[in-house]
């Protein structure tokens, strides 16, 4: 087991290097520069922008820039943002709690809806409940988040005036009021993201469950005289959850990576909005750091999913 994890981690090193190289080259080849806003400002002579480019090393050859970046990264120096001239790690850490809170809650919401609904629908396939759940799931994942987001804003903020649609990262109230406000402002984004996730996950859980529920060992369990609840939860679900675990594990990096569209709509100061604004302003160090961390998380959670398989199903051995 320990050997397996170690080997997987070692394999991850070259793949992460490859990922970082590809990311860096794509970003370096992409047109534009962080100082385009200065171009039409008559107050700033063009030489100033050119001098800044030279100072930040944007005119160096790509391989040199990559090596600089890599050696700094290995020493734990993530560089500084060209746009805010602030260290990249501070910038990311500042944004992380909000993303974890909003996207994490959305994932939890998705799971708490998807698992019971999916399992129950699978135990009674083609019943009224199943039909309704399916229809809603189809509607749910056909509607993009930017559409439902705007719809929610129009309904709950503008027409009904119940919920704020501008997210505030630190609310001034204290104690109980603080909690209420935190929840109130997160309701809409969490619903938008959570329901979207829940829709596709419900379908997934349902089909995984259907595969298992018809197997002989489930019939055997029933024949032993076990109750329906026990059969479903103890026997069928445990096996049905294996593919679901993969899906959830692969979703986990997204919890850290944020949701670009939803964060933009609700002005949530998370990693997703940091990423998109950095991409738009060609702020290479920030884009590199966010995407690279994201890549590391994908690799890590894949490993965690594989380890979890062994625990869920002892027949899968890790070698």
């Amino acid at each position: 087991m320990r050997q397996y994890v170690l080997r997987r981690l070692l394999i991850a090193v070259p793949s992460l290097l490859g990922i970082s190289l590809v990311l860096f080259i794509v970003l370096a080849l992409a047109p534009g520069d962080p100082f385009s806003e200065l171009a039409t400002n008559p107050n700033v002579p063009p030489e100033v922008a050119a001098a800044l480019r030279a100072k930040f090393g944007l005119d160096d050859p790509i391989y040199l820039r990559y090596l600089h970046w890599l050696s700094a990264m290995l020493q734990g120096d993530w560089g500084f943002s060209f746009v805010s001239r602030m260290n990249v790690d501070t910038l990311i850490l500042q944004r992380l709690p909000t993303t974890l809170y909003v996207i994490g809650s959305a994932q939890l919401l998705a799971l708490t809806i998807a698992i019971p609904v999916g399992v129950y629908a699978a135990t009674k396939p083609y019943s009224i409940f199943d039909q309704i759940a399916n229809t809603l799931a189809f509607i749910g994942f056909s509607l993009p988040t930017f559409f439902t987001g705007l719809l929610f804003i129009l309904l709950f903020s503008i027409t009904l005036d119940w919920l704020p649609f501008v997210y505030t990262s630190d609310i001034k109230a204290t104690g109980f009021r603080w909690v209420i406000e935190q929840v109130r402002q997160a309701i809409m984004p969490v619903m938008v993201l959570g329901l979207f996730q829940a829709a596709s996950m419900t379908r997934f859980v349902r089909s995984a469950m259907l595969d298992v529920i018809r197997l002989d060992y489930v019939t055997t369990a029933r024949a032993k005289g076990l109750g329906q609840a026990r059969v479903i939860v103890k026997h069928a679900m445990r096996n049905a959850m294996i593919p679901v675990v993969t899906l959830v594990a692969l979703q986990m990096p997204a919890v850290f990576g944020g949701a670009i569209v939803t964060e933009q709509i609700f002005r949530i100061p998370g990693i997703g909005s940091l990423l998109i604004s950095s991409i738009l302003s060609n702020d290479t160090p920030v884009v590199m750091a966010v995407t690279f961390v994201f890549a590391c998380l994908v690799v890590l959670f894949n490993l965690i999913a594989d380890v979890l398989y062994g625990w869920l199903d002892p027949r899968i051995s890790l070698r």
């Binding site: 385009s36 050119a50 943002s81 805010s84 602030m86 944004r95 933009q264 909005s273 604004s277």
Partner: protein
């Protein structure tokens, strides 16, 4: 005639033989507006009448929170590093310049006791120096006194290339000396008629010497106070998250009486312009939103029965189509659009004039810009004393057709005009932006009717305005026949705005396309007018030179002005923001209040 009469009248006011009011009334009789009349007095050497904004609150604070919504939040809070207005706006809450601009382009004293003038001895008669008298008793937020040393330090800080300040252009060619603790003198190499650049408005925000002295030059990025401003402004710093939020609280020791009105201030960033307009006008969640680049139809709809309205301020920002005078399709010494070539079609003045006749500015105002635009024939649209009255524009497909016919451009078999085997086909580029693409479509349609084939191209803004030498799609490389964008006027003076078309600034491979004369237009008469204006200390003659320069551009059709654009903000009904088209939205933040 008007000139000599005006002069004698100004002298009368100077000597006290005529009072200001009478002068202004006489000017109004000539058809000038009152602000323009006071401007003429000011440029004629009569001290500007301080017309302080009618600020009503009678005590400091008590106004509750002021919530501002910027759809691009400030990313840094050092005014010398500000890359865009968003950063300048954020810094300006805490830092202050010596003076700011009011809505009609007059200077308002902030950290000085008075605005320099010839009368009070602040301005040298030869235009080579300005003396600023600082306000006594001003304190930094940490309690240290504000003195002339701070002002001098800012000059040293910004002009050091190693600091990488973006304000270096303002400070590198001047000398600043301390006269005494509360007096500084700015010295210019040449007579400088526009002296109010250094230490004025957003580029003039003053950093405290005692906190930044150790971080001048290469270490500038490491200064801890880059993220925690300590200024002299109406609000004290509380919190900053780049791109997300800037927060401040009332400064109890602020140096202006009864100010500020609000107890706390916040700028929230992110999102898009339309939803920002919604949050102010429709739901009132926020008090003010900046830069409402939203179609007028949408704004009008939101305003119906809403809690807020849009507010406009006029500056000199101009949206225009520039014509390429060189050939973008021929390569000379590895350079396209080289100054050594001539444009095969646009070198014919008839084609340029015809194009100007095909830009339907009324339709663009009606369908695209609405209340946020004014039609104009001029490239230079303000301040008033510099605006030419000699120009006009019209939209007429018939006249354009006639002009082209007369010049020998005949319609070919495919409906496109041609002459000597050259077809009238143009590539029209601009940045990707809703209103710009609509404008392109309107121009293309009119051109088609006149037998000109226009191919449209749009480039992402971050590429189009990039200074990346390797990229072929930048506006300064201009590998197209015509292109359109906006040039903002960041101060109420035309010097920088007009200088860019001087032939010595032609963009070439040699200067890495950093030259600002991107149409690559060369005109000796224009050069002479600009050179003369820049050396002219007499304000009236100087204004005449700029008007002449503008008219030469108009006659030669170097650019086709599309729209004189106004700045649009959104404010809740009770808020009284003090805005100016000549400066940033927060440049007079100390005067904002709420009507109760």
């Amino acid at each position: 005639m008007l000139d000599t009469e005006l002069r004698s009248m100004i002298d009368e006011v100077k000597d006290g033989r005529m009072d200001r009011r009478a002068f202004v009334q006489r000017m109004i009789a000539f058809g000038l507006t009152a602000p323009m009349a006071t401007q003429i007095l000011a440029i004629g050497g009569v001290a500007m009448a301080q017309s302080p904004a009618p600020y009503k609150p009678t005590k400091r604070g008590g106004g509750g929170p002021l919530k501002l919504l910027w759809w691009q939040g400030p990313t840094l809070l050092n005014p010398h590093f500000a890359t865009g207005t968003k950063d300048q706006d954020g810094s300006r809450l805490f830092y202050e310049p010596l003076a700011s601009w009011d809505s009609s382009g007059n200077l308002c004293p902030i950290l000085v006791a008075e605005i320099p003038s010839i009368q009070n001895g602040g301005l040298a008669a030869d235009g080579k120096s300005v003396t600023w008298k600082l306000k006594p008793g001003v304190k930094w937020h940490d309690g240290k006194p504000f003195t002339a040393d701070d002002v001098v330090f800012n000059w040293e800080y910004a002009r050091d290339p190693a600091t990488s300040a973006l304000t270096i252009g303002v400070y590198q060619d001047i000398t600043v000396e301390k006269v005494d603790d509360l007096t500084v003198r700015v010295l210019f190499k040449n007579p400088t008629p526009f002296w109010a650049d250094a230490f004025v408005a957003v580029v003039g925000c003053i950093l405290p010497k005692h906190l930044f002295a150790d971080y001048k030059g290469a270490k500038s990025r490491e200064a801890p106070n880059n993220l925690k401003p300590v200024g002299t402004g109406p609000y004290k710093f509380v919190e900053f998250k780049p791109g997300d939020v800037v927060r401040g609280e009332l400064n109890p020791d602020y140096h202006m009486p009864n100010r500020p009105y609000f107890d706390t201030i916040e700028i929230k960033g992110g999102g898009d312009a339309v939803s920002a307009a919604r949050a102010v006008i429709q739901t009132g969640e926020y008090d003010y939103a900046w830069n409402m680049q939203v179609e007028d139809d949408v704004l009008l709809r939101l305003e119906k029965g809403g809690k807020g309205k849009t507010v406009y301020s006029t500056g000199g920002d101009i949206e225009f189509i520039a014509l390429n005078f060189t050939d973008p399709n021929t390569e000379v010494d590895g350079e396209r659009s080289s100054i050594k070539t001539k444009h095969p079609l646009l070198s014919d003045p008839a084609v340029r004039k015809a194009l100007a006749l095909l830009v339907d500015r009324d339709a663009m105002q009606k369908h695209i810009y609405g209340r946020a635009g004014r039609t104009t024939a001029n490239f230079l649209n303000g301040p008033d004393q510099f605006v030419s009255k000699n120009t006009k524009w019209e939209f007429s497909i018939e006249k354009a057709t006639q002009l082209l016919e007369e010049a020998g451009w005949k319609v070919g078999a495919d409906g496109i005009r041609e002459k000597d085997g050259k077809k009238l086909k143009l590539l029209y580029q601009t940045s990707t932006n809703g209103p710009r693409q609509k404008t392109q479509a309107i121009v293309k349609q009119a051109c088609q009717k006149a037998g000109i084939d226009v191919e449209l191209k749009s480039v992402v803004a971050s590429v189009f305005f990039s200074s990346d030498v390797a990229n072929p799609d930048t506006y300064s490389k201009f590998y197209a026949d015509i292109e359109m964008f906006q040039i903002p006027m960041t101060q109420p003076d035309p010097a920088q705005h007009m200088r860019r078309f001087h032939s010595r600034f032609v963009a070439t491979k040699e200067n890495k396309w950093q030259g600002r004369n991107f149409p690559r237009w060369v005109n000796k008469e224009f050069d002479a007018a600009i050179d003369a204006a820049e050396a002219e200390v007499d304000p009236i003659k100087r204004a005449a030179f700029y008007i002449k320069a503008n008219d030469i551009m108009w006659q030669d059709t170097v650019v086709i002005p599309v729209m004189h654009r106004l700045k649009v903000g959104a404010a809740t009904n009770s808020l009284r923001p003090v805005l100016s088209g000549w400066t940033n939205d927060t440049d007079n933040i100390q005067d904002w209040y709420r009507e109760t």
